[in-house]
Symmetry: C2
DNA sequence: CGGTGTTTTGAATTCCTTCAAATTATGTGG
DNA sequence: CCACATAATTTGAAGGAATTCAAAACACCG
């Protein structure tokens, strides 16, 4: 039974058949979550780690006056903090942005899992490092890219990440977020997201209909976005050399 | 011999005398770096981990057209990626923002260090997790806080982080960044940083002279900034309950 | 004491937001 | 399968936050 996480960890380290089996076993407990529903809430005791099997979720921080920032987007195969157990208190909320299916791994079970296999342990470690790298690139986008560049950059990233876990078909992939969620991820207003989307379409770079994205001009989009996939390391499966 | 890192790791886990000794031993190789000089450059083979002993550095990403984003500020006691060894290529540059003294720990030496002591290993892990948490809060600031709020928030954070490693004296601490570097950390222009600093002073919240910061009204500053120190976990030494 | 870098000021412009309304999709029960 | 309610997208116009450009004032260092 191969999930997006299996495929992704395989990109990081050569998992054995036993590793895959142990991983499947640990992930056997699953749960369906409706769209716009919290999976884990700020302040919770973070005893459990979640893995996205289907659908998209977001790591969210809320300010008291209602402003929301989605600090990261979680796609199938992504882990919600493989190592949160170290903290005694969640510092952010995980919310389902579409209908989602998650696997839950209790802290002790995860510890057992990685204790049994150094390869699996380092693969999960690599996953944590990549998440950090993506998080830094978010800061670059929010801090130094214009609205148009930001949106272009996010689309490049989402396509690359989905390609890595075999969820893209050529230049097509899912982009199920509505413009409000995109706005919260990119630090802008829905109205402006709307205008930037129209601009990307007008430039002939993308199509986005019915939650499906097609990239018509990958090079043009990447150039506009200043997208350099180095920060995605092993997730950039079209990489030139080493990850 | 106690460094800021010793003090910080002690906040995360109860290090033994032997742990402190091993750590000091691993950190014995030090290097002075001039201000505005790169410590480690994007594209490098990341074989070595660095620890800031004195001075401030920044993790920087550069866009081709010269824009720069400082994704994180590295203060004394901070580690430049305790686990970069997993990647084959640095995806960002570490630059000294002031004159800096760093300790260098080669990858293998670091692996030996944490292999010998589970407590030390989990303390370094905790450090990585905190860095991630801070990185997420950067996204919140850049995405959803106004210029004034961002600056206020950063000052709250820097004061808290310095307090954690005994580098603050009451409401006073260092803030050696110039307005250009602040701008690159906060995703704004130096001119605007200047105006926001004046505004914080005018509101009677802070003084900032000769690279020394004094917070006159910590509650007022925190409220303006929407600063909630939860995300700093054990670094918030004035924390109410558990980290 | 003069040169260099940093901070400050002003004015014009740009990007993005805000607010409000119209239009188009989406989903549900009859 | 259509009618209706609800949510999402799109449009327009006005306002605001931050940038840009340029110059002046100030600090710092040898």
């Amino acid at each position: 039974m191969s999930s997006a996480l299996h495929r992704k960890l395989q990109l990081y380290a050569p998992l054995s058949g036993a590793d895959h089996g142990q991983l499947s076993n640990a992930m056997r407990q699953t749960r369906h979550v409706n769209a716009r529903t919290d999976i884990a809430v700020e302040g919770d005791d973070p005893r459990t780690m979640y893995i996205i099997l289907h659908g998209w979720a977001g790591r969210c921080r809320h300010l008291r006056d209602g402003r929301r920032q989605i600090t990261s987007l979680l796609l199938p195969g992504d882990c919600c903090d493989p190592h949160v157990f170290l903290f005694h208190r969640r510092d952010h909320t995980i919310t389902a942005l579409t209908p989602v299916v998650i696997a839950s791994i209790p802290g002790p079970a995860f510890k057992d899992l990685v204790a049994q296999s150094p390869v699996l342990e380092s693969a999960f470690f690599y996953e944590t490092m990549i998440a950090g790298s993506i998080q830094r690139e978010v800061a670059v986008s929010l801090g130094r890219r214009s609205g148009l560049e930001r949106l272009a950059h996010l689309l490049c990233e989402l396509h690359t990440r989905q390609t890595a876990v075999a969820l893209a078909e050529g230049q097509n992939c899912l982009m199920p977020l509505n413009q409000g969620d995109l706005a919260d991820a990119l630090g802008q207003t829905p109205v402006h997201i709307n205008r930037m989307l129209q601009e990307l379409r007008r430039l002939g770079l993308i199509s986005l209909r019915q939650r499906h994205l097609t990239i018509h001009d990958a090079d043009g989009l990447a150039e506009l976005a200043h997208f350099d996939s180095t920060y995605l390391h092993a997730l950039d499966t079209a990489q030139k050399g080493e990850n």
